[in-house]
Amino acid sequence: MKKLFKEVHEVWLATQFTGFMSQTQSRQDLYEFANIFFKHLTWLENDFIKNKIPYDYSIDQVPIRVTHLSHMINNIVQRLESIQTLLPNCDDPHITERMQSDIAYIKSTLLKMPEEDVSYAFDTRRIYRNVPLTDEARDALTLFLFEESYKEYELIMVYNFSKAHSDDAFLNRIFQILVDESFFHLRSFGQMMAEMGILGVPRSLMEEIYKFNDLEQFLKDGIQEEIGAKEECKRLAQAVSSSSEYFASFFTFINNQENYHIALMEEALNHLQTKDRLK
């Protein structure tokens, strides 16, 4: 069951990042399939929790550097075939039946996707189409994309883990919004990484990042991190503004979105503190 969980986690990332490489309608389809695999991950996770089985989010590195989309499609199909052989390890027939049905459909659709040359996503040229960048802006953007793509993946998993272990509807609404927001950011940054030719799957998370005991402290630290991220966006917007109005406005937009994340975390923190006071 743990192997199944790990492989579903890996196929989710493989599919999501293949979506970043594609420049056709396949991108949207791959995003939808990635969403479905993430949903599978949460089903299996809930089954672990229901049966009190300890689990973690450790994964192997997911290699994605290919020249053609079909290479990744074949890789995803192979991963799905391995998952199908592991499905009997999950005791809940409702989960396995639903997964089996989804996988059968997705496999057949994947194999019909048109071929694309995707080598541009790994050429490390760090050129953005129609957007001139100074060397300083290019370096700042490169580091930002690596830092933040990992951070968004981390946040997706942290909030997902917190949601899976909480029966507080108020908090879970906030966790779900934060997961969705991080998905949006991960997709924005992933597409930019592909465009820059520096696409890579984030590294595996250390367990202590998401298995923490003090949610209140986590939220306090998270608010500080978001404030830091806002500053980073502001710095980056300034660094790239001279060479690109497009990037400057994009990072100002991301910077303003962080205000919403901070408000959500503050709301969660207030809720927790109020609950503590009422105890």
Binding site: S58, D60, Q61, P63, R65, F122, T124, R126, R138, D139, T142, L143, F146, E147, Y150, I198, L199, G200, R203, S204, M206, E208, I209
Partner: protein, 148 residues
Amino acid sequence: MNADAQLIEHMMNPKNYGELKENDATGMGKNPQNGEKVAIYLKVKEGEDPIIEDIRFQAIGCTTTIVAGSIITSEAKGISFSRAQELVSVTLGMLDNLPPEDAACSEMVALALKAALDTYYERQKDPDFPMISYRINNDCTPKEEQQS
């Protein structure tokens, strides 16, 4: 840190990243300032001067730490403990030439490697010896922020 081609390669595909579950020793380097840490796992071939057969690292840290971990573990893989100790010394000796934020990251990885080597030696005497953890001395605040 300037993002040249070699460094970008380490960012895109960090070498030796992940946990080595069947390890002979682990070590930790920590930055007490901001809670960042690096864990190094060693698989060792016994001998008078043991050999690092396999090495992995994990980090809670920034991209610079990941790049440093990728480079240092690549250098350490397959070498003897005495050469690994030289690698630690050379790395620690170079820190003065780096910007503070890069120095702190490299120091954290080098100290994690040193901690893993030291843990291995201690475990030869006492198999239950706990993992050694070292704290860095460098401040990772960029110079311009230290001055302001």
